[in-house]
Amino acid sequence: MSFLQPLALIALPLMALPIIIHLINQQRHRTIPWAAMMFLMSAKRMSRGMARLRHLLILLMRVLAIGALIFAISRPLSGGWLGSIGFSQPDATLILLDRSASMEMQDLQAGESKRSTALKRLAQLLEQGDYGTHLLLIDSASGQMQEVDSPKALLNLPMTGASATSANIPSMLETALAYLKANESGRAEIWICSDLNENDWDIHSGRWNAIREAFAQLEGVHHFLLAYTDPPSGNLSVRVENVQRWKRGNDAELILDVMVRTGGDSSGTRRVPIEFEVNNVQSVVEMELDTLGASLQGHRIPIDAKLSSGWGSVSLPGDANPLDNRFFFVFSEPPVRKAVVVSDDKRIGEAFRRALAVPLDARLQHHADVIPVNRVAEIDWENTGLLIWQGALPSGLVAEQIAHFVNSGRVAMFFPPAHHAGDQLFNSHWGDWQSSDPGQVSKVAWWRGDADLLAHVESGDALPLNGLRTYRYRTLEGTGTPLARFDNDAPLLTRVSTDHGAIYFCSTLPTAQFSSLERDGIVFYVMLQRALTEGCLALAAAAQRDAGVGVLADRDQWKSVVSAENTASLSQRELHAGVYREDEYWVAVNRSQAEDNAKVSPVETVDALFDGLSYRRIDVDVGDTSALASELWRIFLIAMALALILEAVLSLPSRKTEATPLIDLTVADGSTE
């Protein structure tokens, strides 16, 4: 239990006062000579049990009354979870605030969101208690640590406001850990305010072990989790999965794929109006939702043919979370999908070119160039979406150009050279060629079908990788993540982790000498087209991005067209949903898809993440701004009054029974007459 006036607890030994007084009184009792001792002893024998108990109870009540008074004066704070704090004060208090979009779930009656509720309760608690010499805030949106003057200031800081971002709790804990280690803080309290969103917590990440072990080495660090453990309910979220602008004769239209998700608690079907706004023109479509929600595929909205680019939004009626009721999108004319194949082998280059030049959609313009390695300088990096590199891994300037190319959101795919392996690139380099035994082929034993280049098609059918025959492949040594593996665990396709864009390494070549990629065609075509599509997203003048730090960093003069939040801070605007424009470029910033899923991590799993650490989870309800730790002095005063009343009742002399006089002089004479 913590106390606002802990010094008053020094008086606790006064609780022994009644016992001391009792002992002194025993020595100071008036002594009277008494004759009828036999009756006194008999009476004591008769009343030994109850009288002793009553006496002890009276003493106990007096002790309790004094104890309660001292506790009341020391102004205790409620909350069994505060028990672990003890009486010591922290040197630093770190607040890890989850500002993700899902934290904006509101209690409609109270008008308070999960984030604001947690902030208010935490500020109130810290205001009452002692938060040490440093009060630090780590907000999930920026991930930065900032010193806060006072708990009350937390309520007004822009860094504690709503955002459309996702949170990364492990990363925030690592920031806190770095601070504690760097400053060698003694006792510290870490308060995490979160709704336990599965995506934010990333509970299956291997980072948790390292975090847990690192915190275990620090002494005096207490973790408190203000958690919203109830799954969200009564909330709908809307998202535009895809937006395309097509010309249709002299007209133009937007084709939208819209997804509406329910909180998972709705039963039966219901109809919800969806409002579209494009170029200040609103239209409403009613969608029928089932328990999981609904998707609206290929919804067409006619637009002015002269409107080559612009923005729009899709809105839902108001519900528990206002932040996921509107989704912004931007559109522009689709760019030319340009790919460059770098290969010294014309036959192989041609195989790539054929697969890349055939468009998925006839309305799209595809263009693929095949150039030898020595003409790399001719590549138009700016307007290329996909680079196919079949040759020795480059180094020097070319390697830097490729890295810049990838960092700008494009895709690079590397295929093994026939002879010289080249240098290491992106922490990977080619090994030796491996050939199958005569009459044997290497078959794909596993591939990732849920995402990336080899994902199942929309109908759910898997790509026919089972039928792919590989005769020769080159080993790859590096840190990439395999997307497909042969039966001997050697990777066929590997993706190297990057912040932007994508890098793939494929271990074999498409021609018949190496594999059946070209001959079977389907896997080869789909793989290259998907890579081209991903790479060409960066070529479009309009882009959809998830809110977060740095999403507007690629251009200097982004101007806000529309924003869900009125924020004057340039550093904060990229954390909110909105539309930004610079010349012909448009970007729509929205919450990430993970925030719409809103799956709550099981509390047992979250608790397990803090195994071995000083940790306490405090379950709170959204909208409940009652104090986390209210003062308990009233309860102690009532307890004291009750103890005194009980003491008084127990001390009352027993009721006298109206008895006949023990000596009746008229009948006592036992005369024998």
């Binding site: 009277i32 008494w34 004759a35 009756f39 004591k44 002399p653 027993s654 029974t657 002089l665």
Partner: protein
């Protein structure tokens, strides 16, 4: 009989008032001189007792010639013998007899500071005086562990003076030896006597029963003054106190508000048991609160013993 009274515990007015009353034995006494009490032996008083047949050797002067004339038989006419009595005063001088509650919390109006021994002294002295006045022998036995007196009954004025002096000097202390002295008295006094016991009888009722039955078995007339102090009965104190045993036992710290009911219950049981003892042994029992006027108590005692035929 003229006595020089210098004993301050005796009250002249009470003595004068009670001198008009006589102390009677409830049972025939065997005295050595003529007195006012019935004797089991036929004597020469004016009180006719019975006729009996003449046997050779009888004094012919006591033949009833008129009866011979009527019946032609010889009858001896017998008369009651009046004799004196021996009164043994047995006073309990145990420590508990020194009890006097000065605070008088119950407002019973007693004489402040008057102990049970003081009261016993007055009762015994007055009774001794009355007995001596009517020519009876008076003896005194003190039943105390520390204070032990044995004065066999005699009927001289000098002896009375000795008894009264001893009464004046006796002190209460130590445990009671009443049971022993009663048994001893029952055995040592060979002839019938009036045994007057003055005590608070803080003993087990069964012990008291044995003593009384022993005395009654020896044909003694037993009278008991059971002295109690009102506070011993009521036990009304309003705060915890340390009760020091007046007979030398361990003190007891007790809260009367807590154990008062049990104390009174124990007292009730004791008194009820004592009533049983009295009914069984047929002693002349008087339960007395010492705030009562001892003159009234003795007057009631003396009147209660007056033979009915004289009423």
């Amino acid at each position: 009989m003229a006595l020089q009274l210098k004993r301050d515990y005796l009250n002249q007015k009470v003595l004068e008032r009670l001198s008009t009353l006589q102390l009677h034995a409830r049972l025939p006494m065997v005295g050595n001189v003529s007195g006012k009490h019935r004797s089991p032996i036929r004597g020469s008083s004016l009180e006719f007792a019975e006729y009996r047949k003449y046997v050779p050797g009888d004094d012919t002067r006591r033949l009833d010639w008129r009866a011979y004339a009527r019946n032609d038989r010889y009858y001896i006419k017998e008369f009651e013998a009046d004799t004196n009595l021996r009164m043994c005063l047995i006073v309990d001088t145990s420590g508990s007899m020194d009890f006097a509650y000065n605070g008088n919390p119950t407002g019973t109006g007693g004489e402040p500071g008057l102990s049970k021994l003081d009261y016993a002294r007055r009762v015994a002295g007055t009774l001794a005086y009355i007995a001596a006045l009517q020519g009876d022998a008076v003896g005194l036995y003190c039943a105390g562990e520390a204070f032990h007196i044995e004065i066999p009954p005699k009927r001289s004025a000098t002896h009375l003076s000795v008894v009264l002096d001893e009464l004046g000097t006796m002190e209460a202390s130590g445990e009671t030896g009443l049971a022993d002295i009663l048994h001893e008295t029952a055995e040592r006094i060979p002839q019938r006597a009036l045994i007057v016991v003055i005590s608070d009888l803080f003993m087990e009722p069964e012990t008291v029963r044995n003593c009384f039955e022993h005395l009654r078995f020896r044909k003694h007339d037993v009278a008991v003054f059971h002295l109690m102090e009102q506070n011993e009965l009521d036990f009304e104190f309003d705060r915890p106190m340390r009760f020091a045993d007046m007979e030398g036992g361990e003190p007891i710290l007790a809260d009367p508000t807590v154990i008062g009911a049990q104390y009174r219950r124990a007292m009730e049981i004791y008194l009820a048991s004592m009533d049983e003892v009295i009914r069984g042994t047929e002693v002349d029992y008087h339960r007395i609160c010492i705030h009562e006027n001892y003159g009234d108590v003795l007057a009631r005692f003396l009147l209660g013993r007056t033979p009915k035929r004289q009423k």
